[in-house]
């Protein structure tokens, strides 16, 4: 069919659709012309006028049928019917505004819940990352002991680079904070030191200027910087001549060579990138594992192959360098998996949950449609009686469903927009890509598809039921409504059973999550997080050039803060609990060298000041705390936690024993044992820990911990004032209460728990409406019967029992199915639970009872109506 074909036919189709009256008139005229000529001919042949007309009509074999055949040739029948059906459906909807509103709102709420969850799934799991061929990008994690996302050492990384066949290229990053000066105000910036090839590996180039050259990885050539778009805007006022400008980072001067495009930030939120360069003595270092390694697979190389190759390489390295590499493995993760690994499960559970909600909503709407169908049964029976085909009737009924679900989808999309806004502003910041959630083409297509499907799910059964062929029986039956409804009643009862079952699954799922959440909140982190304010500093050259300088600054800060009103205790530490940062080091016990290299013990390593334990109220179990006299001049000492004591000194007293810590010359004497505390998350394990006095060992980035006697956030400004009194040029960052850190660590869990809880509540409401509408309908259908019963002396109590009994029977059946299904389904979410089994009996019983209670309530209203039936009126009504 060429264009020429459409040239002739398209205008005809349009004409048939939009000039229908004209086309009809022409059809009429054409047929009349023929008829008249036929009559003329007949008259000419000698017939009377009347005979001639009659014969002519007979020759046409039914004028109207012929016309109908001609209309069928127009090929726009489907559209014509559809528009007719839509007009009819609209009229029906306007006639029953309450029905329409209830259905549309039910659908809108459930469709928008579904769409919100899908848009999150879309942004986090389906939409590819903003890199060229993002599926080739892989993170290479060193696996070490329980840490399956450990960083790599310089020498290991360089060997991976040289000895692999799977990757086009590998790049390394190291992240740190530096003080930026030389523009208007001092500021701490997030810096990534990156291999020169990182940007080309990711497939992202600077928007202005250039990225790094390989020779800029050489020490001495490396004072060039690529800045992020947001830093360019905030610090340089989007200056078009920014290239070539210089500024100071920790006292060294750097020249801007490039500005990245907006939105680009890698590996996390980064303000600027510097070339990663290694001093000659660093090149062979395997002891310090600090590099994040990324790679781009060669085309055609599968992740599995690369994983196999790199694992083999890691094994070789472990044999070659047992001292540093024994026990190290390799774990390859795609960028996508690396980003959303932990929340993938929660997302799928939520997706399942919203589909359950949607199904319940469908069941409810189907229920309402059925209830209405009974009142329309007579209309439909008559239509069938006069020859309407079943298919045509089903098409019309489905059109009504479609219109309802489209309206629901439209309203639902508006709600979705709001829902996404709420999610973005209240959602936890530590869920990756949450800010990218939006209604895009895929989400729109999804909503459209789901609402179409929904219309079929909730509309088909009522349509089939209403138009079933034995409908004529109904006509004979006259107004005896009770028998005709029996088929409906059965279907509707089963719908409600399904609703109750689905709602119970959701309630139990949500109940399990809520209980886990509460259990988790009750977990003692090992310290008291209330009333603790924390902040970080990163003292840097030229003002602070040595460990001693930093230690001196910390000492002055501690002294200053101690005297601040409402401050109960202060301390410093290199890494705060729950800040997401954790330094682990290997150690050996003096006198007990490990028999095999892979037995090397590792522990969290913390540098603290006297007062840190008090500030976080970490209990000192035995021995003594650090004091002002534990300095560089005094013997090296350490505190250990109980976990380390239990594991490495099971049958002896650790106090007085000595530890050799990785990278330190002299052994440290254990002088005390402190309580265990969680460092990463509440449901994490407790690791062995070693604490060292900061006066003996300091790093350049420290956090202050201040215990206050009242709400710490109200003291923030006065504490910051005290700090600036010590050094007005020292920027302070990450000012947060300990409670905030704890809350953030629970953020994703809180979100999924809240969402599932909300879905379950909505499901409960829908199920209650379902039970109510079925019982209400039942009562109105059985009015007559109830009247007779009462006339025969049934008490109100018995009537109540009749109605409530039926409702409870339906609910109990639903609860039975729900429990069975929940036992199977909740197993999937085991990894999301904490301190509770997926078949926790209490959760099952409590939720079943709650559902039963709600169902009972939903039955009571119709039951009261039944009790108030006046037998005389009910009987006369017949």
């Amino acid at each position: 069919m060429g264009i020429e074909h459409w040239m002739y036919t398209l205008p005809l189709r349009l004409r048939s659709l939009f000039r229908r009256e004209r086309v009809e008139a022409e059809l009429d005229e054409e047929m009349r012309y023929h008829l008249d000529r036929l009559i003329e001919a007949n008259v000419a042949a000698g017939m009377s006028e009347e005979e001639a007309r009659f014969a002519a009509l007979r020759a046409m074999h039914g004028l109207e049928q012929r016309k109908e055949e001609c209309r069928d040739m127009r090929r726009v029948r489907v559209i014509e019917n559809l528009s007719q059906d839509f007009r009819f459906a609209l009229r029906m909807m306007m006639k029953n505004p309450l029905f329409t509103v209830v259905v549309v709102v039910t659908l809108a709420l459930s469709l928008s819940a579904t769409t919100v969850v899908f848009s999150v799934v879309n942004a986090l799991l389906l939409r590819s990352l903003p890199y060229n061929n993002a599926d080739q990008l892989v993170m290479l994690w060193s696996v070490f002991k329980s840490n399956n996302k450990a960083y790599a050492s310089v020498a290991n990384f360089r060997e991976w680079q040289e000895r692999n066949n799977s990757f086009q290229s590998l790049a390394a990053c190291d992240m740190l904070k530096l003080n930026l000066t030389g523009t208007d105000r001092p500021e701490v910036v997030d810096v990534a030191l990156v291999s020169a090839n990182l940007f080309s590996l990711l497939g992202v180039q600077p928007e202005r200027g250039r990225s790094f050259q390989p020779e800029e990885e050489q020490p001495g050539n490396n004072h060039v910087v690529v800045i992020s778009n947001s830093l360019w805007q905030s610090r340089f006022g989007a200056d078009a001549n920014v290239l070539g400008r210089t500024f100071q980072l920790d006292g060294d001067s750097y020249t801007v060579i490039g500005v990245m495009p907006p939105g680009f930030s890698y590996p996390e939120k980064i303000d600027l990138w510097l070339p990663l360069s290694f001093l000659p003595e660093e090149l062979a270092d395997r002891g310090y594992n600090h590099l994040l390694v990324v790679g781009r697979l060669k085309p055609g190389v599968e992740l599995r192959q690369a994983q196999a190759e790199m694992s083999a390489l890691a094994d070789t390295q472990a044999r070659q360098y047992p001292n540093e590499n024994a026990g190290r493995g390799m774990r390859l993760l795609t960028f996508q998996d690396n980003l959303v690994g932990d929340i993938r499960m929660a997302l799928w559970v939520l997706t399942g949950a919203v589909f359950f909600v949607l199904l319940i909503a469908c069941a409810n709407v189907a229920n309402l449609l059925m209830a209405r169908a009974t009142t329309r049964q007579k209309e439909i029976a008559i239509r069938i009686g006069v020859g309407a085909s079943r298919g045509r009737l089903i098409q019309q009924l489905l059109t009504e469903s479609l219109l309802l679900s489209m309206l629901g989808a439209l309203l639902g999309l508006l709600l979705t927009k709001g829902g996404i806004q709420i999610l973005k502003s209240f959602g936890p910041a530590n869920i990756p890509r949450l800010n990218e959630v939006a209604i895009d083409a895929r989400v729109l297509a999804f909503t459209l598809g789901v609402s179409l499907l929904t219309a079929i799910i909730f509309g088909l059964k009522p349509a089939l039921q209403t138009t079933r062929p034995d409908i004529n029986e109904w006509l004979k039956d006259g107004q005896r409504t009770s028998t005709a409804g029996s088929g409906f009643e059965r279907v509707r009862n089963w719908l409600v059973v399904t609703e109750v079952a689905l709602a119970l699954i959701l309630l139990i799922g949500a109940g399990l999550l809520i209980k886990s959440f509460m259990r988790l909140w009750q977990v003692e982190p090992g310290f008291n997080p209330n009333n603790v304010l924390t902040m970080s500093i990163s003292p840097s050259p030229p003002k602070y050039n040595s460990q001693a300088d930093v230690a001196a600054l910390c000492r002055r800060l501690l002294d200053q803060l101690k005297t601040t009103p409402n401050v109960e205790a202060v301390g410093v530490v290199n890494q705060l609990p729950f800040s997401g940062r954790n330094l682990g080091l290997n150690f050996t016990i003096v006198g007990q060298p490990p028999t095999r290299p892979e037995d090397t013990a590792s522990a969290n390593y913390r540098l603290i000041s006297p007062g840190y334990l008090q500030a976080l109220t970490i209990p000192l179990k035995r021995g003594r705390d650090f004091n002002e006299h534990d300095t560089r001049e005094s013997p090296p000492v350490a505190l250990i936690n109980e976990a380390l004591a239990k594991r490495y000194f099971p049958n002896e007293d650790p106090i007085g024993k000595q530890l050799n810590v990785e990278g330190q010359q002299a052994p440290r004497e254990i002088i005390g044992i402190i309580g265990d505390l969680k460092q990463i998350k509440l449901d994490g394990e407790v690791r062995p820990e070693i604490y060292v006095p900061f006066l003996q060992f300091t790093v350049f980035s420290m956090s202050l911990v201040v215990r206050t006697s009242s709400d710490p956030s109200s003291l923030t400004s006065s504490i910051l004032q005290q700090i600036s009194r010590v050094d007005p040029d020292q920027p302070v960052f990450r000012v947060k209460t300990m409670d905030q850190y704890l809350g953030e660590s629970m953020g994703p869990r809180r979100l999924s728990t809240t969402l599932l809880g909300a879905f379950a509540a909505f499901a409960l409401l829908l199920a209650a409406i379902g039970v109510y509408s079925v019982m209400n309908y039942l009562v109105s259908q059985r009015r007559h019967e109830i009247g007779i019963r009462m006339a025969l002396g049934a008490s109100q109590r018995e009537i109540l029992k009749l109605v409530v009994g039926q409702g409870m029977w339906i609910s109990l059946l639903g609860i039975g199915f729900g429990i069975a299904a929940a036992l199977l389904l909740t197993r999937i979410m085991t990894s999301l639970l904490y301190g509770i089994t997926p078949s926790d009996p209490l959760t099952y019983i409590a939720n079943s009872l709650m559902l039963l209670a709600v169902a009972l309530l939903a039955c009571l209203i119709p039951a009261r109506r039944a009790m108030s039936v006046d037998p005389i009126i009910a009987l006369r009504y017949q």
Partner: protein, 111 residues
């Protein structure tokens, strides 16, 4: 009255196209021409002509135009279009193949 021979499926289309290839005609005239040419052998019922015409029009093979007719009333005249001419060639070829094959079979000698 013997029933007119039922037309082989689709043959009516061919006949209409062929007749319209000669000159534009309205429905009544097409019917008359059919009777005239085939000499009562092929009788197309007055009614069934129009659905066929409308179908051909919707296919784009013929196009319609209202013009005054021989009795001074306006009538709907149908004309063959370019795609229609192509269709006619194709259907004519089909018909020749089909009828040749059928007559071959019919002429088989019974032994």
């Amino acid at each position: 009255m013997s029933k007119p021979t039922d037309l082989v499926q689709g043959t009516l289309d061919l006949l209409i196209l062929k007749i319209l290839a000669l000159e534009p005609l309205h429905g009544w005239a097409i019917g008359q021409r059919l009777k005239q040419v085939s000499g009562e052998t092929l009788q197309v019922s007055d009614g069934s002509l129009y659905p066929a015409l409308h179908k051909l029009e919707q296919e784009g093979w013929i196009k319609a135009e209202w013009k005054p007719s021989e009795n001074n009333r306006r009538a709907k005249f149908y004309t063959l279009t370019r795609p229609g001419r192509k269709q006619l060639e194709q259907e004519t070829a089909n018909w020749n193949r089909l009828s040749a094959a059928i007559s071959l079979i019919v002429q088989l000698k019974e032994v």
